[in-house]
C-alpha cells in the first residue's frame, strides 16, 4: 500500500530513540497516523512541528497497518505564531481539536480547506479569531452536530435571532425565547456571519460552540474532555476582549 498526499501536522510523539509517530490531517486521506523513521533526529525533528504543512508518502504492507511516512516540508507555520501568544493558542486549539474529534482515515475535504485557510491566517491577520469561530461551526457541521441558525425554531422568523437552543442547536428569536432566555446560549452576530468579529463577540460565540463541542461531540466520543488547549484559547480571547 502506498499513497502520497499533503497535510498539516497535528501531533508528534517520540517512538523509541530515533523515530516519531505523527498524525497528519491530509487532503485526501483525512487524519492519518504513521511512523517517521529518524523523526527524532536533528535534521527531521525541527520539521515536525504541529501546524507544519508536509508532503507525505505513506507506505505499509497492509492497509490496516500503522505504516511509515516519508515527509518533506512544504511550509512551516511555527515561526509565524511563536511570537504571538494568541496565535500560538489558536494553533494549539486547532491541532488539539482535530486530533481529538476527527475519526481516523476519513476524508473531510471541505473541513481540510477551511483548516488550511485558518492556519495560514494565524499570526498574519487580525481576523483569525472570527475565522476560528466559523471553523468550529464547520467542524461541528462536518461531524454531524451542525447548528441551524437560519431562522427561529419557534416562530420561523428570520430577524431578531438572539439565542441558540442548547437542546436542538437551532436559533431562537428574542421574542420567542421569552422567559426561557436565561437557559439559552448566546447567538452573537459573529455566529450569524455579520459584524466585524470583535473579540467580545467572538468570545460569546465560542461559549455556544464550546457547549456543543463538549456536550454533543465529546459526549459522543466517550465523554472525554475537550483538549485543554481550546480552553486556554477561549480564556485568552475573553481576557483580550475585556481589555479592549
Amino acid at each position: 500500500m502506498e499513497w502520497r498526499d499533503q497535510g498539516a501536522l497535528l501531533s508528534v510523539r517520540r517512538h523509541g530513540e530515533t523515530s516519531a509517530i505523527i498524525e497528519v490531517f491530509t487532503a485526501e486521506h483525512g487524519r492519518h497516523a504513521g511512523v517517521v523513521r529518524g523523526g527524532a533526529s536533528r535534521k527531521v525533528a525541527p520539521i515536525l512541528q504541529p501546524g507544519a504543512q508536509l508532503d507525505v508518502t505513506w507506505r505499509a504492507r497492509l492497509d490496516e497497518h500503522l505504516g511509515a511516512f516519508k515527509v518533506e516540508p512544504v511550509k512551516s507555520r511555527a515561526a509565524a505564531v511563536m511570537g504571538d501568544r494568541m496565535a500560538m493558542a489558536g494553533l494549539n486549539a486547532i491541532t488539539g481539536l482535530l486530533g481529538f474529534s476527527l475519526p481516523e482515515r476519513e476524508n473531510h475535504p471541505l473541513l481540510y480547506q477551511r483548516t488550511m485557510t485558518l492556519l495560514d491566517l494565524l499570526g498574519n491577520s487580525e481576523a483569525w479569531p472570527l475565522a476560528y469561530l466559523r471553523w468550529e461551526l464547520a467542524l461541528l457541521d462536518e461531524l454531524g452536530f451542525g447548528l441551524d441558525l437560519t431562522k427561529c425554531a419557534v416562530t420561523g422568523a428570520l430577524d431578531d435571532l438572539a439565542y441558540v437552543s442548547p437542546r436542538t442547536g437551532r436559533a431562537v428569536s428574542a421574542e420567542a425565547a421569552g422567559e426561557w432566555a436565561d437557559r439559552m446560549l448566546p447567538l452573537p452576530e459573529s455566529l450569524l456571519g455579520h459584524g466585524m468579529g470583535e473579540l467580545g463577540d467572538v468570545s460569546e460565540g465560542l461559549k455556544t460552540t464550546g457547549y456543543f463541542l463538549a456536550n454533543r461531540l465529546a459526549a459522543q466520543l466517550g465523554g472525554n474532555q475537550l483538549p485543554q488547549a481550546r480552553q486556554r484559547l477561549v480564556d485568552r480571547i475573553a481576557r483580550h476582549s475585556a481589555i479592549d
Binding site: S11, R13, E17, P46, I47, Q49, P50, G51, P73, K75, S76, A78, A79, A80, M82, G83, R85, M88, A89, L91, N92, G96, G99, P227, Q228, A229, R232
Partner: protein, 185 residues
C-alpha cells in the same frame, strides 16, 4: 544492560563491553567506582531541579549567583549547555519537561508552581525563559509569562541565524524569526 543505554544498540554495547574488559584496570574499574559513587550520591536539587551531590546544588548554594536573575530551562541537559557557554551568572530553574496536551502534562506535572514560589522567595527581578524553539517549548514559555505577568520582568532567548550559519541552508521559519527580531546595526 549496556544495550539499554540511549545511543547504544546490542552491537555497539558489545563492543564497549569488550573494550572495557580488555582495559580492565585502566577503564573498567575506575568506571565502576565512579558509577558506584554517583549512584550513592547523585540527587536532584530540592530548589532548582539540577543534579548534584547535595540536597541544594552548588549553583543554588552560591551567594555569587544570587543576581536576581533566574533562567528557566526544560531539562538538566539544557542547564548544562547554558553552563558550558559560561555566559549566565544567575540561578536556574529546571521545569522537567514542557506542557503537552497529548501526553497529559499540565502545569502541575512540571515544576511551574515551585518556580512561582521561587520568584517571590528569592527576590527575583528577571526571569529568562530559555526554552526550546518548538511549539511545545514556546507554549510553555507563554504560559509561564502569563503566570508571572506584572510580578517580574520576563525575557526569552533570541531566535534567528546561528553563529556560523549560512542563510542558504536555513529553513524559512528561522529566517522569518530572524527577520522579525532584526536590530539596528
Amino acid at each position: 544492560m549496556m544495550a539499554k543505554l540511549p545511543g547504544l544498540g546490542p552491537r555497539s554495547a558489545r563492543r564497549a563491553v569488550l573494550h572495557m574488559i580488555k582495559k580492565r584496570g585502566m577503564l573498567m574499574t575506575p568506571l565502576a567506582d565512579a558509577l558506584h559513587s554517583v549512584a550513592a550520591t547523585a540527587r536532584e536539587c530540592l530548589n532548582c531541579g539540577n543534579i548534584g551531590t547535595t540536597d541544594i546544588c552548588d549553583i543554588c548554594a552560591s551567594e555569587k549567583r544570587r543576581t536576581g536573575e533566574l533562567c528557566v530551562v526544560e531539562d538538566v541537559a539544557d542547564l548544562w549547555a547554558m553552563e558550558r557557554a559560561a555566559v549566565f551568572k544567575g540561578r536556574y530553574h529546571v521545569l522537567g519537561g514542557t506542557l503537552s496536551a497529548l501526553d497529559a502534562i499540565g502545569p502541575d506535572e512540571l515544576h511551574i508552581p515551585k518556580l512561582l514560589d521561587r520568584v517571590s522567595a528569592e527576590e527575583i527581578t528577571e526571569v529568562i525563559l530559555a526554552l526550546n524553539a518548538t511549539i511545545d517549548g514556546q507554549t510553555t514559555a507563554h504560559y509561564i509569562a502569563d503566570s508571572l505577568e506584572g510580578r517580574v520582568s520576563v525575557t526569552s532567548l533570541a531566535q534567528g541565524v546561528p553563529i556560523g550559519g549560512e542563510l542558504d541552508y536555513l529553513d524559512g521559519g528561522t529566517i522569518t524569526a530572524a527577520m522579525k527580531a532584526r536590530k539596528a546595526f
